[in-house]
């Protein structure tokens, strides 16, 4: 199979289309701003496109680097964008229908469990070997990402608590990327035997994957921390007035 061929996880096309339909339906009574629509659309597109494109072919057949980048997209960026696209009324509806039970301390643990659990060698090799297991892997990562970002996007955490939440998540999640960066042996037998691409050895591929993962997380978390720091400053200046 050529690396430029398309591969599909059709379940996530269905999920993205269903989410978009639900969003459009909810938007009839509560019109979101263009920015929110764009955020939601990009988030849903990232899920569908990352898992149904040549990216999926390379991730599932050739390079761990691309697989890790794909995971970072669907676990970190896409869920945050999807949730940021929701209007207050949509969030209130979700809160009334079960999301109020999501506690920050459990959400962060669930996200970390998904993050580390799906990257365990046994699970990862199994998902790659079976192919359909990748659906489960990506489902866990998307669900973990949605759970993680919900307390923040729903406004459940005041700025100081949000900063502590983000700081703890940043530190706790960084070890996985670092393990990939510093490793001297490939973690996943699947990629050891996979046909190589772009001249990367299995170990260089893994090191670069860790770099991509850590770089993405650093960027996402620093942006989020910066946002809450600016909110903290705004709250203080409002109090002074």
């Amino acid at each position: 199979m050529s690396p430029t061929d398309f591969s599909f996880e059709p379940a996530y096309i269905v999920v993205a289309v269903a989410a978009a339909a639900a969003y459009a339906w909810a938007a009839r009574s509560d019109r979101p701003s263009r920015l929110r629509v764009a955020s939601f659309a990009i988030g849903a597109f990232l899920v569908a496109a990352a898992l149904n494109s040549p990216l999926e072919t390379i991730a599932a057949k050739r390079l761990l680097l691309v697989h890790l980048l794909q995971n970072a997209l669907v676990a970190d960026i896409a869920p945050a964008l999807v949730l940021l696209g929701l209007t207050p009324a949509m969030k209130a509806w979700l809160t009334r229908h079960g999301a109020s039970r999501i506690r920050a301390r459990w959400a962060i643990l669930a996200w970390l469990a998904a993050w580390y659990g799906t990257h365990l060698a046994g699970f990862y090799n199994w998902a790659l070997d079976t192919g359909w297991g990748l659906n489960i892997e990506h489902g866990l990562l998307i669900a973990g990402g949605l759970l993680f970002w919900w307390p923040l996007v729903a406004g459940r955490l005041p700025a100081p608590a949000a900063l502590a939440y983000l700081g703890a998540a940043f530190v706790a999640s960084s070890f996985l990327g670092l393990a990939f960066i510093f490793s001297e042996h490939p973690f996943y037998s699947f990629y050891e035997h996979a046909p190589r691409l772009w001249g990367f050895s299995a170990i260089r591929d893994q090191n670069l994957g860790g770099i991509a993962m850590n770089g993405e997380q650093t960027l996402v978390f620093l942006v989020a921390i910066g946002w809450y720091v600016s909110r903290l400053l705004a709250e203080e200046s409002a109090q002074e007035r």
Binding site: A161, A164, N214, L233
Partner: protein, 249 residues
């Protein structure tokens, strides 16, 4: 031996300030915990600049060199400034020395300029960036005088930003949010350097050929910043988190 001599002078100044305050019956603000913190700060500085750590830093490992820099430029200043916060800060210098210094308009102008948050952060970030330019790094390794100057720059830049972060004299140049913002900015700037060191696939400094060593240097910097700035953020945010929880309840 210069670092040891300076550490002895600093220890003597701290001791006389502490004794004077205790003689005035203010042992509550000049307790042994302060002495322990100040002593720890001095010990960290001396241990980083003298002995095996210094030898390894200069001759073998970039990671140890990075650790040395963050110890003298971050952890040690933070510990010492925490130790002298409050009236002890004023008692650190004997009255005969402090009075003319306090009257010096030029000194006051310099201090009030460098202690402006944007200026202080600019100095700190510029110091971080400049001394990690491979050419300068290499040059400092080959010339002792420049190397000493580099270390002085680390200590001074660290003292400036940590003075703002801890606010030992209660000058309130920054609100709590402002201090968190400064800490976040320092972490973000440090993270840029960390990423360059960790993500670079080739050694950047001719004197240190090991790639893993270089990556460890980046991690050393990130870990130290997480400990120092993370502790500060936790201490500053904790009362607000409690207050928010009470309001929520």
């Amino acid at each position: 031996m210069l670092p040891v001599a300076l550490a002895v002078v600093a220890a003597l100044l701290f001791a006389q300030g502490m004794v004077r305050l205790r003689q005035r019956g203010r042992a509550d603000i000049a307790g042994w915990d302060r002495a322990a913190l100040f002593g720890l700060g001095l010990a960290v500085t001396v241990a980083a600049l003298v002995g095996p750590l210094d030898r390894l830093a200069e001759t073998k490992y970039l990671s140890v060199h990075m650790l040395q820099h963050v110890l003298i430029g971050d952890l040690a200043p933070a510990l010492m400034i925490v130790a002298v916060r409050g009236p002890l800060l004023v008692f650190l210098l004997p009255a005969q020395v402090l009075a003319p210094l306090a009257r010096s308009m030029r000194l006051r102008a310099v201090l009030s300029t460098v202690l402006q948050p944007r200026v202080a952060f600019g100095i700190w970030a510029a110091n971080l960036a400049i001394w990690h330019v491979p050419y300068l790094y290499d040059l400092a390794l080959r010339h002792d005088a420049l190397h000493y100057f580099e270390h002085v720059c680390w200590v001074v830049a660290g003292l400036i930003v940590w003075t703002l972060l801890i606010d030992p004299g209660s000058h309130r140049r920054l609100t709590v949010g402002g201090r968190i913002a400064l800490a976040a900015a320092m972490f973000a700037a440090g993270q840029v350097l960390t990423d360059v060191l960790v993500f670079s696939l080739h050694p950047l400094y001719p004197a240190y050929p090991g790639r893993i060593d270089q990556q460890l240097a980046g991690i050393a910097m990130m870990a130290e910043q997480l400990v120092t700035l993370g502790t500060l953020a936790f201490v500053l945010l904790r009362p607000r988190m409690r207050a928010a929880r009470l309001v929520h309840a």
